[in-house]
Symmetry: C2
Subunit: 367 residues, 2 copies
């Protein structure tokens, strides 16, 4: 039903849209593993319901949940949110789920299913095993009756930022990391992006943010808000550990042109403070050999870039931080036709190592 | 996404189609529990693949399978069959799955989700627990984005035979059994069928066949092949234990009229011999307190009535029985526009207590 294509998306006329393009829906998982999420996932599940509900004001939302949490998730989520059974190892659908490609001529949508190894496999990956996560993309395509490509690379959606017009923004520290694709060269990676996402130009940044557990996903650092227009996380504090990362990215991107030869407009958005695990929070997490242990004092990078942009909303994390409000004001200016919704208690998601973008997978509409 | 309706299908203009009506697809589960299916389900799974493949020549087929068997099922089934993850207690989708109602005016389809207790719950039910089976109907509707009615009765699709024009054929031994609906009267049951399936007349038979573990589902005894036209399982051997059941049904149905006042044409189809569990077969089944134990010598009723009728096929069980061929010839006459396909080794399904009709759930097309 969901055919595995032996051709490439470029051959078949498919491209990867920009995340600001039109969507048919959005996919999320359901957080519950007690060695990642504190207190059995109960605090973060409440935030998840708020997140799914906010997105559902804009487009159809599907939450995929394993059999053991099915009734709880179905009970907690409003009726108009679709819940489907799907076993996973955790809930990072941007990274493990299918990406959706569109064919503008035929108005078709197909899935793109990269290899997934939990951000590094046995060399620094964040949990073990990741077998069920790696099946999620195929299962999504089966449910939606969409044909599927298997991308010949281990990578994650959160590491890939597209403008929808042939430009990809990504980081070397992720794509070329030996814990993903040992021995792969930049040229080989670029060929795969060309074949599978119809990318004509890759803008490489050397690295992502510090205290980002993914080896530096782009989705905490910078994203396209439209063609030739970027949002970049920022601080003016030269003593901040992220300063040099931001400055380096700004320098590179200021001098870059995109696939169409355009210079890039760069909007700076001030970062929030990182989250630091408290004693109480750390005490609520099971200690197992299967998941990265986050002790009291462990620091996780936060970012307003890690938002979800829907057809009519932008849902952005709130951290009880003085920069929450300025971030929402800037997003309102950049997306004047969309309602900007702050997600309270987004810290609960951040404690698990990511944020709103990381846990949402947009399903693009074809035409 | 799949709204639970508080109204009734009759109020909303929905009716239950006859099984010979047009379908959009067909749902099956996946047999694997080792205390029901011999040799870990491996023999029956091969038959299942043949069955799903035969139906898929006629309409889209979806196989629902729990996470533990997902990769095995996906690997065994051809690519053009959709596989979705769904945990169940066993694989009897006719009985536990959603029935599909149609609205001829609006061209809508909705699900009808009866209560399910594994054919009798703690009073003679066939396995324990049945909690996941009872969720299957809702999960099917969520996947298909169809609204759903919860029928206020415990019953199974295999116990309900409709003509699509207001007539229901069923058995008292199932519907009025205290192990399903204790204290329910015939009038109360008829009101529910009227409200939820738009039934204007119920043709009650007192009982189903002997050696039928469901307390006598109609789908081993008789079925509609069209409006006012029935197929009835039969033997001329007055010493056969089923003879009196068949004769009784023939007597009642010969004197009945349907919801539109029409007399019924009754075609007799000669039964196969029952299956008797061999020593070798019985030795391949786990003995647990959770499932009915079927020992060597245990007899299961077979029937050619227990077929699947698709848009362009009729898939009927074969038992290496002298009556296999005459049954297929009769079905070819009754369904001249459909290809009749005999399913070899259908004994493997029958050993589990049912057959092709029991494990398939047609999803009707609206108009």
């Amino acid at each position: 039903m969901s055919k595995l294509c032996n051709t490439t998306p470029r051959q078949d006329g498919f491209r990867m849209p920009g995340e600001f393009e039109k969507k048919d829906g959005c996919w999320l998982g359901w957080p519950s593993r007690s060695d990642v999420w504190r207190n059995g996932g109960k605090p973060v599940q409440k935030v998840w319901v708020e997140l799914a509900t906010a997105i559902a004001t804009s487009e159809s939302v599907t939450v995929a949940v394993g059999h053991d949490q099915y009734l709880n998730a179905r009970g907690m989520l409003p009726d108009h949110i679709r819940v489907v059974e799907m076993s996973t190892n955790d809930a990072w659908f941007r990274d493990m789920g299918a990406m959706f490609l569109v064919n503008d001529a035929t108005k078709e949508v197909r899935g793109l299913d990269w290899g997934f190894n939990a951000w590094g496999g046995l060399e620094g990956g964040l949990y073990f095993p990741w077998d069920k996560d790696d099946l999620a993309a195929a299962k999504m395509c089966e449910i939606e009756r969409l044909d599927r490509y298997r991308g010949p690379m281990i990578t994650e959606g959160g590491g890939l930022q597209c403008d929808g017009e042939g430009t990809l923004l990504t980081t070397e520290s992720v794509i070329l990391n030996p814990n993903r694709n040992p021995g792969m060269t930049k040229a080989e990676a670029e060929q795969i992006f060309s074949d599978y996402m119809r990318i004509d130009k890759v803008l490489w940044l050397p690295r992502g943010c510090k205290f980002d557990e993914t080896d530096g996903h782009i989705d905490d650092l910078a994203c396209f808000v439209g063609p030739a227009e970027l949002l970049l996380s920022w601080t003016n504090d030269e003593n901040d550990p992220q300063f040099e990362v931001y400055a380096e990215a700004f320098e590179i991107l200021s001098n870059a042109t995109d696939a169409k030869g355009r210079r890039l407009t760069i909007h700076k958005i001030h970062q929030p403070s990182p989250a630091v695990w408290t004693e109480e929070e750390a005490a609520g997490v099971d200690v197992t050999p299967d998941a990265t242990q986050r002790l009291a004092g462990y620091k996780v990078m936060g970012s307003y870039i890690n938002y979800y942009v829907g057809n009519s909303v932008v849902v952005v994390p709130e951290f009880d931080d003085p920069y929450d409000q300025p971030a929402q004001e800037l997003l309102s200016q950049l997306f004047p036709d969309r309602q900007v919704i702050g997600l309270k208690n987004a810290r609960e998601i951040l404690l698990g190592g990511g944020n709103i973008a990381c846990v949402t997978q947009p399903q693009y509409a074809a035409g």
